[in-house]
Symmetry: C2
Amino acid sequence: MVDLRHLSTFVAVAEEGSFSGAATRLRMAQSAVSRTIRDLERDLGKQLFDRSTHHVALTQAGHATLDSARTALAAVDTVRLTAGDAGDCIRCPHDGAKKP
Amino acid sequence: MVDLRHLSTFVAVAEEGSFSGAATRLRMAQSAVSRTIRDLERDLGKQLFDRSTHHVALTQAGHATLDSARTALAAVDTVRLTAGDAGDCIRCPHDGAKKP
DNA sequence: ACGTTTTACGTAGGCCGTAAATATC
DNA sequence: GATATTTACGGCCTACGTAAAACGT
C-alpha cells in the first residue's frame, strides 16, 4: 500500500536531488530513505529515479509522479485544515467554549 | 500522523453509517475500525462522529472532513495513475518492450 | 435481551537506526 | 580514496484479531 510517508520522502529526495540530503531534511537515516523509495517504486511498478551513485535524476514517470504526489500531500493537509476549521457538533461538550 | 488507512476507514464508516458495516466492507475486525477512527479523531483534534451505540452520525467537522478525505484519497489514486501512465525513462532496461 | 461499539490482551509485521558492503567519480 | 547508495541485523512500535465488557435500544 502506498503510504503518505512514501510520498513525502519521495518529494524530499526529488527536491534535494540526493538521498542523503533528503535524509538530513527528514531527520532520518539514509538507509530508511533508500528503502522507502525502493518500496514506493515497487508499489507503483515504476522506477522513479535514475541513480548512479553520484547522480540522482527523476525519470519521466518520476516527474509525473512528483506533481501528483505534491497534490496528494496538499490534499491531506487540506483534510487537517478543513477538520480544524470546521465547527464541531452543535453541542459537543468536549471542546467547551472554544468558539466565541 | 494521519494515515491513508485512517482516511479510507473514515470514509467507509461514513458511507456505511456503521462501524460494523465498514468493518465488513474493509474485511477487518470492528475493533480495528473503532481504534482507527479514534486515532484519527485524536490526530485531527475533532470528533468526527456522534455515536450513541446504535446511531452513528457525522458531526459538522465530520462532514467537512469527509469531503476533503475523499479528495485526498482520489489524489493518491491519481499518483498511481499518473505513475502508471507516465512513460518510463527513455532507456529503462527493466520494463523492456512494454510500450509499442 | 440483542445488537453495536469499545476495551484488554497477545501476536505478527513493518520501520527505523547502526553498521558493513558496494559502486561511482 | 572519498562520497553516496544499498543491504544486513536487531529492536521498537504499531496495527490487527480474538475475546470479553459496556452501552443503548
